[in-house]
């Protein structure tokens, strides 16, 4: 159960042959993402994301903790990904697998290590208290390209999340309830996303946003983490067939274009949701609070 069912020979050969003719099973072009659907839950930082049939829920939460001794000025930020049998019957509940550690590694590299969330802004009182931000990624349906989808979902969640306001008064940390003070958005320094390329037919055909079947038929992959400004924060080629250097350069510009487009889609979804929230007004807002 720990592995996805292997492709049949017919499927593999057909996918390769189709790509040679620049065709994909769902009619997309090689550089086209599947339709992206982003919606938000009742709480801030609750994102439902669908990329084709891959479906992810991200929930961001915050709590006050003590900062680490060696970094008294920094808050904490963790991305938590645990794959369950819900996403794919190939994943066993409660048993970590390769996909999990791989995706976690990419998410950490692209979002956490690139300091997309400014952890210094999470400090409340030096060495005493800080915010700990936690992003929980729930993969509810897996049909390929988990890394890119998870990246989009986490970045959307971070931008959407509002933490309670906290101040230091007379050496005491006061955390205001959401009804007392308008909650605060997180300090996002830049918006990196990952774009994963899959290579086929001796790297002659390279595509983005592969479905599960395409991933299984692929010969190699290349992950590029890049932000809107074209600054690359992550690049890795974990395994598979060679891709020549010139190809990688052109793929980087494809990745930049994709990231700009995806970020624009995130912005649109965010604006629509914030407008909706504003429209629902204060009465509804406090209603939701009572509810909770």
């Amino acid at each position: 159960m720990s592995k996805e069912a292997p492709l049949s020979i017919a499927e593999r050969e057909f996918i390769l042959e189709a790509l040679r003719q620049d065709s994909r099973l769902d009619g997309r072009t090689p550089d086209q993402f599947r339709p992206l659907k982003i919606s938000f839950g009742d709480e801030y930082g609750h994102v439902n994301l669908e990329l084709g049939n891959t479906s992810i829920i991200v929930r961001i939460s915050a709590e006050v903790t003590k900062p680490r001794d060696e970094r008294p000025f920094d808050g904490l930020f963790n991305i938590n990904l645990e794959l369950s049998a819900m996403g794919s019957p190939a994943w066993e509940n409660g048993r970590p697998n390769d996909v999990e550690s791989y995706v976690t590694h990419v998410l950490d590299s692209v979002i956490r290590h690139s300091n997309a969330l400014d952890t210094e802004s999470l400090c409340i009182l030096k060495g005493v208290s800080c915010w700990s931000i936690r992003a929980d990624v729930h993969v509810v349906a897996y049909d390929g390209n988990l890394t890119d989808a998870a990246c989009i979902a986490v970045m959307t969640g971070l931008q959407h999340f509002r933490r309670p306001d906290a101040v230091v008064r007379d050496g005491q940390v006061v955390v205001y309830g959401v009804e007392e003070r308008v909650p605060v958005a997180l300090n996002i320094t830049h918006k990196p996303l990952s774009v994963t390329f899959f290579a086929f037919n001796e790297s002659k055909n390279i595509i983005v946003d592969a479905t599960l079947k395409e991933e299984q038929a692929s010969e190699g992959e290349l992950v590029i983490g890049i932000n809107n400004g074209g600054e690359m924060c992550f690049m890795n080629k974990f395994s598979g067939a060679t891709i020549n250097a010139r190809e990688i350069v052109t793929r980087t510009s494809v990745a930049l274009e994709k990231v700009k487009d995806l970020n624009a889609q995130i912005d649109r979804a965010m604006q629509a949701d914030l407008a909706l929230r504003a429209k629902r007004g204060m009465a509804e807002e406090s209603r939701a609070e009572n509810d909770r």
Binding site: A10, F14, A18, Q21, S23, D26, G27
Partner: protein, 277 residues
């Protein structure tokens, strides 16, 4: 079927819904079971029999064949049943058997090395891992953990009946829901020259008509939610035609398109793929 009768597990099938044909024994489809209840009210020593559902589904009856069955959720997992046609994937082979995958993450089914038309020790097909076969469920075994056995030949006649059983070469397999697979099987097995929709499906006949000029296509439907399509007659546009058929079937399945929408969608996809003008 104006107002369908939906049963949940534990519900009894009302006797007025049972076919009244008394000459044949009543046959039960999946999702139903016969329970005998010791009657407490009547003085009869004879126990009463009640039909109860074990799954949620819509009750359907066939008066001609005197059957009653339950239409359950179409996206459920396939469970092998004797005589079902399925598309299996070879996982590995041993001395006597090919071990085949019928649904992912379940035990392998066995397919005898000689269970092919005209197969002998010398002429049996050499199937590799990942090859596909169109097979029939021969037996599901008795008792717990019994193995499912498949065959590509009718043991009585030694022929591959119905036609087409055996290895599937080339082509492409698309996944659909088990409910859709059952509908497609009925639609493709009934006389094909009908213009009417069978089980609300016109997608196959529509595709057949539109792709006739390209040489048509071959299709094999497995009850386990797999559809194999081969358009090798279409020459250069074989790949595109196959993709178009696959997309049509999957979209009709996912979106539950009605007959009119199916026709529209087929036209749209074929135009998009530049297969017809």
């Amino acid at each position: 079927m104006a107002s369908p009768l939906v049963l949940l597990p534990g519900d009894e099938v009302p006797s007025r819904h049972l076919p009244s044909n008394k000459s044949n024994p009543l046959k039960l489809g999946p999702g139903l079971r016969l329970l005998s209840q010791p009657s407490s009210t009547s003085q009869n020593a004879q126990s009463q029999h009640v039909l109860t559902a074990t799954q949620a589904g819509i009750v359907t009856t066939d008066a001609k064949r005197n059957t009653v069955s339950l239409l359950s959720f179409p996206n459920r997992r396939y469970i092998p049943t004797v005589n079902d046609l399925i598309i299996a994937q070879i996982h590995h082979s041993s001395v006597d058997y090919f071990h085949c995958m019928v649904t992912p993450h379940t035990a392998h089914a066995l397919l005898g090395q000689l269970s092919f038309e005209g197969a002998s020790k010398k002429t049996r097909p050499m199937l590799r891992q990942g090859d596909l076969v169109y097979a029939r469920v021969l037996s599901i075994g008795l008792g717990a953990g019994a193995e499912v056995e498949l065959t590509c030949v009718n043991p009585a006649t030694g022929k591959s009946e119905p036609g087409g059983l055996g290895p599937l070469n080339g082509g492409m397999v698309f996944d659909v829901s088990t409910g859709m697979a059952a509908r497609l099987l009925r639609a493709s097995s009934s006389s094909s020259e009908q213009n009417e929709s069978i089980d609300g499906l016109v997608v196959l006949s529509e595709l057949g008509k539109k792709l006739e000029s390209l040489g048509g296509f071959e299709i094999a439907v497995g009850r386990n939610g797999k559809v194999w399509i081969d358009c090798s007659n279409a020459g250069e546009s074989a790949v595109k035609a196959t993709i178009a058929i696959g997309r049509c079937l999957q979209t009709v399945d996912e979106k539950g398109l009605g007959p009119a929408d199916q026709k529209k969608f087929v036209t749209r996809i074929l135009r998009e793929m530049k297969l017809v003008s």
